[in-house]
């Protein structure tokens, strides 16, 4: 019986960081020598992934200059949530939390493969296993990269990098003993979200006094929906591209069997074509993988980033509504000449909060745009270059193969 084994499925999978990938999301993050964070290592165990978070820093609040800790996905989520819940950070775009590692799909496939083992030849089985392992490895690398991107964004943020929780996360070399949310908390979260989105609609309906924010609001609402759509569509496109590459792989191996079976001079021909397909399918799979990396992941990241920006606008909108309500309450109190002082303080608090958010939010949104444009530029250029590279590789293979085949006939 086929167990979870092989390089990708070994319970302890080590992965070296995929630097180019990691960089693709973080084009303009300031590279500041005072605090550098990366994930130097990752281990995949059954249902969880352990990330080794490596920090290099000259900041005085760390005991050492260089250290590493082991963190799990839940701890990343905890850190993210602590930012979101912190009122102080209401005026910033909180870097989106990394997505949960999801190996279920490829585990399921693996299970199916194990069940179907008897019905296929050894070559087919090996091939399928290789495909699955490659897929698993790709998901794994992506997961690692997404977690790293989150940390780097935080480390590069002028305010968030000074966060105490963040420092604890980086330095405390034991389990943070954060737990996943229990049912009750999840339910609470759910209601909070319902209220928030209902409130969001309400807040969004309020005409903004500031043209900049009014524009950003309309833009982000539309942009978020479109990028969501594009992200889903690109996934589907890439998935069918992968399937086509897998088909070519299988065609190659069947042609190979035909080639070894055939007793006529056609066998050489089949073998040659099989060899060609074996190579082109590799390129085709690379095309799909690169599109995934450069296009789908970019869109997915900006889907979450634009959500974070939207959240910022919501918080600002909420503060604005609160401020306006406080103004009204103050007017009423003055008219009635009752509780004026209290209303005044509330109004002042609201005003301060709103102004503080507005002040940092404007810069955050401008940064968001700069980052976005730079990231798209970088990724699209790389995408085009890779597509060209692969197409040229394919072309060359086809040309040389055709040369040989035509020479034979």
């Amino acid at each position: 019986f086929f167990k979870l084994s092989g390089p990708a499925f070994s319970s302890q999978l080590k992965v070296c960081r995929d630097k180019p990938f990691f960089l693709s999301m973080n084009v303009d993050l300031q590279t500041d020598a005072t605090l550098q964070v990366d994930i130097s290592d990752a281990l995949s165990e059954r249902d969880k992934v352990k990330f080794t978070v490596h920090t290099k820093s000259t900041l005085p609040n760390f005991k050492q200059n260089e250290f590493s800790v082991v963190r799990q996905h839940e701890e990343f989520i905890w850190l993210h949530d602590s930012f979101v819940e912190n009122e102080e950070y209401a005026g910033y775009i909180i870097p989106p939390a990394p997505p949960r590692p999801d190996f279920d799909a490829s585990r399921e496939k693996l299970q199916k493969l194990g069940e179907g083992e008897g019905s296929m030849t050894k070559e087919e089985f090996t091939k399928m296993k290789q495909e699955l392992e490659a897929e698993y490895l790709a998901i794994f690398k992506k997961t690692v990269a997404m977690h790293e991107v989150f940390l780097c964004r935080v480390a590069a943020h002028p305010v968030l990098r000074k966060d105490l929780n963040f420092h604890v996360f980086l330095e405390y070399n034991q389990d943070l003993s954060v737990r996943g949310k229990n049912k009750k908390e999840k339910l609470e979260d759910f209601f909070k979200n319902v209220v928030k989105s209902a409130d969001g609609v309400l807040v969004a309906g309020v005409k903004d006094v500031d043209d900049f924010f009014e524009h950003e609001k309309t833009f982000l609402l539309e942009y978020h929906n479109r990028v969501k759509d594009s992200s889903a569509k690109s996934d589907r496109m890439i998935r069918s591209h992968k399937s086509a590459a897998d088909d070519i792989n299988r065609i190659a191996s069947t042609l190979y069997t035909l080639g070894t079976q055939d007793s006529t001079d056609l066998c050489k021909f089949f073998l040659k074509v099989s060899e060609l397909f074996e190579k082109t399918r590799k390129i085709e799979a690379r095309v799909a993988a690169d599109e995934d990396l450069k296009l789908a992941d970019l869109l997915k990241y900006y889907l979450r980033e634009s959500q974070a920006a939207k959240d910022l606008l919501y918080r600002r909108g909420r503060a604005l509504v609160d401020y306006e309500n406080a103004n009204k309450a103050l007017d009423k109190a003055r008219a009635k000449n009752k509780d004026v002082l209290q209303a005044e303080t509330t109004q002042q608090v609201c005003c301060q909060k709103f102004e503080k958010i507005s002040e940092s939010a404007k810069q955050e949104l401008i940064d968001f745009k700069t980052r976005r444009v730079a990231a798209f530029r970088k990724n699209l250029v790389e995408l085009a270059e890779l597509e060209l590279k692969h197409a040229k590789g394919n072309l060359q293979l086809l040309q040389s193969c055709l040369g040989v085949l035509k020479g034979d006939t």
Binding site: T121, K122, E123, H215, F219, E222, Y223, R226, V227, D229, S230, K233, S234, R236, M237, R239, S240, H241, S243, A244, D247, I248, R250, I251, T254, L255, T257, L258, T260, Q261, D262, S263, T264, L266, F269, V273, L276, T280, K369, R372, V373, F376, R377, L380, V381, L383, A384, E385, E387, L388, A391, K392, N394, L395, L398, Q399, L402, L405, K406, T409
Partner: protein
């Protein structure tokens, strides 16, 4: 490879088994001193032969061949039967095993061997042992192989050499040395690898046969002892299934064997000349060698197979309305052949006419062993869509697919030198009005295919019984079987590629639209522009995928579909050949029976009926000769056809796959163009 090597060995155990079983059965009988041995023992020769049969052959069978089997054939198996195809091989080989294993279960295989090696050597003194089978074998073999003088003369020369080399002291027992010679000789010239294969192959094949014959003889003795005539192999086909009943039959055998003995003596005299088991071997090898000379001639012939005849099927048109509607196609011919009335002519034909043509052709030519190209299947679903549907792209694709298939079908028909001469083909191409083909209605589509398959299956069951003596056919039948299996698999995968490519094309189109929208909402001008450019690139790529999917389908997938059908037709030819063989063998058996009747009459001293019996024998002898000739003729035709088919196949595949690769090449060139145009746009983002 591990899996296949696990599977592949069976042929060899199998090939060993029959002999072991045989001998062990025999041994048992001999030692228990049943009536068989006593009945037959009186023959004078019997004292010497046993030594040989059990001494020499044993040596050879158990030493040499085994080592051969273990060395060379192993290679053969590895290369020839990797992976699932081995099923076929197993099928062919395993039947004798099944039959025999009813008598002796396989685990015992190892026991008989030591027994045989030891006991028989001492046993001969009881002068009982191998006699009966030996003589009968000799008698039968002789009759079979007297006709083809090559085989026997060859065997006798071989035989002499053998005796000179190996058994110079006992020259008169050529009979029994023949086997060793043949067996041991083969592996020696195994210098060139190809030879190794054919030689070893025949070697391996021969052995089961050699052993099979004893099996048959023995079984035969048990069941129908009266069959001491040529039908060694035919009897095998009939008795195979009956082995299990041996118990009941043994008693019978004792009675009937006594009838045999007089004639046995008579036959023995002749039997001395042709060897006992050797004939089987030389025939197998000689038949593979002799035609191989003509094989080259055939190939030369084939290269001249080009005719100046261009056929195209165009302009599919819907005729009529509703469910009675049908598609009519324009069949245009361009030729300089004088057999046609003019140089260019056009007729309109409907699909059932094409099917009708196939019906007529297969009726006439299939029985002669011609590969009649099969037309595309009738598709009720596809046609109904066309009938009902308006301008549906899928029905347009269906019509185009069928048009192309019909064109290829006709081109294959007319490129066949014999089929082109057929008046029906000419009529189909030339005649203005064709009588409506009715029979195709009932036989169309799936039903027709099913019938064909059923027939093939039914016949293929018989194949197992056929004791294939022609190595070429034996290999070819297996090859075709394997090839068909792999082609089917490949076809499924290419179809899957077509579907995925279509899916990819659709998804790319959707993505392009989505990116265009994203671009329109992007507020950075340069990025917005780049995104809409990307959308355009994706749009073009979508077109490219769509075209490529069409190429996947029409150039690659349809080629495979055609050849799956054609391989079916090839199998049909093999079946026809086998039917001819069956008829011949049946006649042989009948003759056998007639001779038995004569023998009984002689013994019973009834001269009055003797004349009639003799007439009948003459009549059946004539039939046997006729059927045998027919079998030889169809074998030659099928062989020629298959060689022609292989050449055509190689040509078709090369042409089509090169065309397919060129389409891929073109796709990549376009892709490069598109991305090169996009790159500066991406770089312009600021």
């Amino acid at each position: 490879m591990a899996a296949s090597s696990e599977r592949s060995p069976p042929p060899f155990p199998d090939s060993e088994e029959p002999e072991l079983l045989e001998d062990s059965d025999e041994g048992a009988d001999a030692f228990t001193g049943t009536s068989i041995s006593e009945m037959d023992s009186p023959s004078p020769d019997s004292t010497k032969p046993p030594k040989d049969i059990f001494n020499e052959p044993l040596e050879d069978i158990f030493s040499d061949p085994l080592s051969n089997i273990n060395s060379e054939p192993q290679k053969k198996v590895d290369t020839k039967i990797p992976s699932p195809s081995s099923d076929e091989a197993v099928d062919l080989f395993s039947d004798p095993l099944d039959d025999d294993s009813e008598v002796v279960s396989s685990p015992e295989v190892q026991n008989p061997m030591p027994d045989l090696l030891n006991e028989p050597v001492q046993a001969p003194k009881s002068d009982v042992l191998g006699e009966p089978p030996v003589h009968k074998n000799a008698a039968r073999q002789q009759d079979i192989f007297e006709d083809p003088p090559k085989g026997s003369s060859k065997s006798s020369s071989v035989k002499k050499a053998a005796s000179a080399e190996l058994f110079s002291d006992e020259d008169e027992e050529d009979l029994f040395k023949e086997l060793p010679k043949v067996v041991t000789k083969k592996p020696q010239p195994s210098g060139p690898p190809v030879d190794v294969f054919t030689e070893v192959k025949s070697d391996v094949k021969v052995k089961p046969q050699v052993k099979d014959d004893p099996t048959d003889l023995f079984a035969e003795e048990a069941l129908t002892a009266p069959a001491p005539k040529p039908s060694a192999s035919s009897s095998s086909s009939r008795t195979n299934g009956v082995h299990s009943e041996e118990h009941d039959l043994f008693s019978e055998a004792t009675v009937e064997l006594s009838l045999d003995s007089p004639r046995n003596d008579r036959k023995k005299k002749d039997a001395v000349k042709p060897s006992v088991s050797a004939p089987v071997a030389p025939v197998a090898s000689s038949s593979s060698k002799a035609p191989s000379k003509t094989l080259e001639e055939l190939e030369e012939e084939e290269s001249e197979d080009t005719f100046d005849l261009n056929i195209s099927v165009t302009n599919p048109e819907k005729v009529g309305d509703g469910m009675n509607a049908y598609m009519a196609y324009k069949v245009s011919t361009q030729t300089s052949l004088t057999m046609f009335r003019s140089k260019t002519f056009t007729v309109r034909r409907r699909f059932s006419d094409f099917l009708g043509l196939y019906e007529k052709l297969s009726e006439k030519h299939l029985q002669n062993g011609y590969i009649v190209p099969p037309p595309p299947e009738k598709s009720i679903l596809g046609m109904t869509k066309v009938k009902v549907g308006k301008e549906d792209p899928s029905s347009a694709e269906f019509v185009e697919r069928r048009r192309a298939a019909l064109e290829r079908y006709l081109q294959r028909v007319v490129s066949h030198p014999s089929l082109l001469q057929d008046p029906d083909v000419r009529e189909f191409l030339e005649k203005e009005e064709l009588p409506r083909a009715v029979s195709t209605q009932a036989l169309s589509g799936a039903g027709f295919l099913k019938m064909l398959n059923k027939a093939t299956d039914a016949v293929s069951k018989m194949t197992i019984k056929m004791n294939e003596q022609d190595v070429w056919f034996d290999e070819k039948i297996q090859d075709v079987e394997n090839e068909e299996q792999h082609m089917r698999k490949l076809h499924v995968m290419v179809e899957s590629l077509v579907n995925h490519r279509k899916e990819l094309s659709g998804n790319t189109a959707v993505f392009a639209k989505s990116v265009a929208m994203l671009g329109s909402s992007e507020d950075n001008t340069a990025l917005s522009r780049a995104l809409s450019q990307l959308a355009e690139v994706e749009d073009r790529i979508e077109q490219l995928h769509q075209e490529q999917a069409a190429n996947d389908f029409f150039t690659f997938s349809e080629l495979l579909a055609d050849y799956i059908r054609l391989l079916g037709a090839v199998k049909g030819c093999f079946d026809q050949r086998m039917k001819a063989w069956q008829r011949w063998q049946d006649a042989e058996n009948m003759l056998q029976k007639k001779r038995e009747v004569e023998a009984k009459l002689l013994w019973a001293n009834k001269p009055d009926k003797l004349q009639q019996a003799k007439d009948e024998i003459a009549e059946w002898e004539a039939k046997v000769t006729q059927y045998e000739r027919e079998f030889e003729r169809i074998s030659a035709t099928v062989r020629k056809e298959v060689i022609r088919f292989d050449k055509e196949k190689a040509r078709d595949f090369k042409r089509q796959i090169i065309k397919y690769l060129e389409s891929l090449l073109n796709s990549q060139q376009q892709l490069i163009k598109y991305w090169e145009a996009f790159l500066p746009e991406a770089k312009a983002i600021a």
